[in-house]
């Protein structure tokens, strides 16, 4: 049994020093929930294939870092000089490293504490930790219990910020194992647009664990593109929950790319809570070594006439494990729902594992839902064709895998980010 009592002490301390920050109640409820459920085990249905308990065998530090602007410079993504950059270090929003080009009349970025008390306090009260209605497990509660330096972003009504938003999660593992629990709430107001890219980087060689929760609320007629890029160190693990609620008729488009990492668990939740929502979820995972990547998607159709489409594709090589679990719920009121899901896999090694599971719960009678999953191998004929033209086997495989990835990558709309991901993929696949 893992001894987590040190978390008790940390929680008590946090509640004392931040008693009046407006979030103490959320923390308290979350910690109670965590205390009750503990960390998920393989006996927890949603965690059957992914174990994170043993990550806690070591005592993670949460405090102290020496991340400088120079460190940030080395890991910035292309297009950054035209982007709003929001930086978390060890899970804490770092205003000094962050940089916003957009003006306050387009969007505003506040610490969650400030937002919880000021102009946006009603929004924070209403939407912060709404995800806990869906996420009952202890890892999610653990994040809520330790909300400290979270962030609140508000995209104002009718605004299309000229600059996209980049979120960096930097974990400073140069001195000791590090755990980060970043928390964010983004409100995208009526008739506004947001393009958002999130990425994760661990510095140094120590183990890291990032348990992040981002809640996004999308109002009437808003348009959102969200890209998640995971290419961290092989001993960098994370649970990354993105909980998007579409409260007005709106459009959401997400692409999750997972390359390198330790244990990576993504929860991509979409709550379609208005008539006529449209949602597109794409995922790509290219796993080698011992990387374990688990993509859980959840679409809760609560209102009529919603459309959603999911395409997740991936490969598992070496000793890696890929998990896909796609849950689609259609509530009694959600007539005329159209919801499609496809998961395609290539298994490249006898020692790799793929688990794929669609999960449909339909309580309305006039709906169209489909799902499909495949597990296959690289096309031997195509491989021979390329080799017969003089392309060595390893390069031919990379070409075929790049081609396999391409129909997800085309859904990364900003060219700078797509080119960046293509480069990461080429490097990732070329290292034998």
């Amino acid at each position: 049994m893992i001894d987590l009592t040190y978390l008790n002490d940390r929680f008590e301390h946090l509640q004392q020093v931040s008693a009046d920050d407006g979030i103490a109640g959320v923390r308290k409820n979350s910690f109670d929930s965590f205390s009750k459920t503990g960390l998920p085990t393989y006996r927890t249905e949603d965690w059957k294939y992914t174990s994170i308990g043993n990550l806690f065998d070591q005592s993670f530090e949460q405090a102290g870092h020496t991340v400088s602007l120079a460190d940030l410079e080395a890991l910035r993504m292309p297009g950054h000089h035209k982007a709003n950059e929001l930086v978390f270090v060890n899970g804490r929003f770092d205003a000094a490293l962050s940089n916003f080009l957009s003006t306050d009349d387009e969007l505003i970025v506040l610490s969650l504490k400030d937002a919880a008390k000021g102009e946006y306090k009603d929004l924070v009260a209403r939407y912060l930790n709404k995800s806990s209605e869906y996420m009952k497990d202890g890892v999610h509660a653990l994040n809520g219990a330790f909300i400290e330096e979270g962030v609140f972003v508000h995209i104002h009504k009718g605004k299309t910020p000229q600059h996209p938003l980049y979120i960096y999660h930097i974990l400073d593992g140069r001195a000791h194992p590090v755990m980060a629990q970043p928390r964010g709430l983004i409100y995208i107001d009526k008739n506004s647009r947001l393009q958002l890219t999130e990425t994760y980087v661990t510095l140094g060689v120590s183990d890291s664990f990032c348990n992040g929760v981002l809640e996004v609320v999308v109002d009437q007629n808003a348009y959102v593109e969200y890209y998640k890029i995971q290419n961290d160190a092989s001993n960098a693990s994370q649970v990354s929950t993105t909980h998007i609620t579409q409260i007005g008729r709106s459009y959401v488009h997400t692409v999750t790319v997972t390359l390198n990492g330790g244990v990576v668990r993504n929860n991509m939740n979409l709550v379609l809570d208005a008539d006529g929502n449209e949602t597109h979820l794409y995922g790509l995972y290219l796993l080698k070594g011992k990387t374990h990547a688990d993509n859980h998607t959840m679409i809760d159709n609560r209102q009529p006439n919603c459309f959603s489409n999911q395409l997740y594709k991936g490969i598992a090589d070496d000793f890696s494990t890929a998990v896909f679990n796609g849950k689609i719920m259609v509530q009694p009121d959600a007539q005329k729902t159209n919801s499609f899901q496809s998961n395609k896999n290539i298994l490249l090694s006898d020692n790799a594992t793929i688990n794929t599971k669609p999960q449909l719960e339909i309580f309305a009678d006039d709906v169209k839902c489909s799902h499909g999953c495949t597990v296959g191998q690289l096309d031997e004929e195509a491989l021979f064709y390329l080799r017969a033209r003089g392309i060595p086997k390893e390069k031919a495989e990379v070409l075929l895998l790049q081609a396999y990835a391409a129909d997800v990558l085309t859904h990364i709309k900003p060219m700078a980010i797509r080119a960046y991901v293509e480069k990461l993929i080429y490097e990732h696949l070329s290292i034998v």
Partner: protein, 252 residues
Amino acid sequence: MLSIKNIHANVEGKEILKGINLEIKAGEVHAIMGPNGSGKSTLASVLAGREQYEVTAGEVSFLDKNLLELSPEDRAREGLFLAFQYPVEIPGVSTTNFIKAAVNEKRKYHGLEPLDSVSFLKIMKEKMKLVEIDQSLLSRSINEGFSGGEKKRNEIFQMAMLEPKLAILDETDSGLDIDALRIVANGINKLHSPERAVLVITHYQRLLDYIQPDYVHVLYNGRIVKSGTKELALELEEKGYDFITEGVDLNA
């Protein structure tokens, strides 16, 4: 250039080639004809290095190297080219990028610098004219949605770009209408030179109206049962394969 000595080969445990002997010299055009199931495509696959084919006996030397010890990619880089009977569609890989990679891999193998984009495009334009292939095809994924004729033309275009020493054309005429056949044959003829050899594998004589072989061999039941000049092909066309196969002892 190519010397095949007593090759025996199995597919899934079944012996398909039962002792083939063939000598091809630089500058020569050879045609191998034969009825379905005689082993023609197996011979092409064995020479190109397809892994499902197991060579159980015999030797093949190509430009004084032991061909059977080379990987498929090294065979190609040494100068062997197989035009596929059924070219594969590979969605997501651009034809141009693929050919550029192939050309530069070959150059690298021979200790040459890679071609820059300008030189590559210049050569590509020349060769496109040669095989009358359209630019729009080359900017698409490899063979994706190509018609049968377009696929075969793409094979000949790749051959033109790679300038092989020995080109093996596996049933390149199958599925071609008369115009496509003429274009493909033209492309092959223009590439033919005293340094290069061509091995045409075909079921019908019609391609040989356009490509004049120096030698014609009849493959039957895994062996070459008759060799001759181009007149043999005409005779086959007239009389059918029966006049050859009658009297061949299958158990010999």
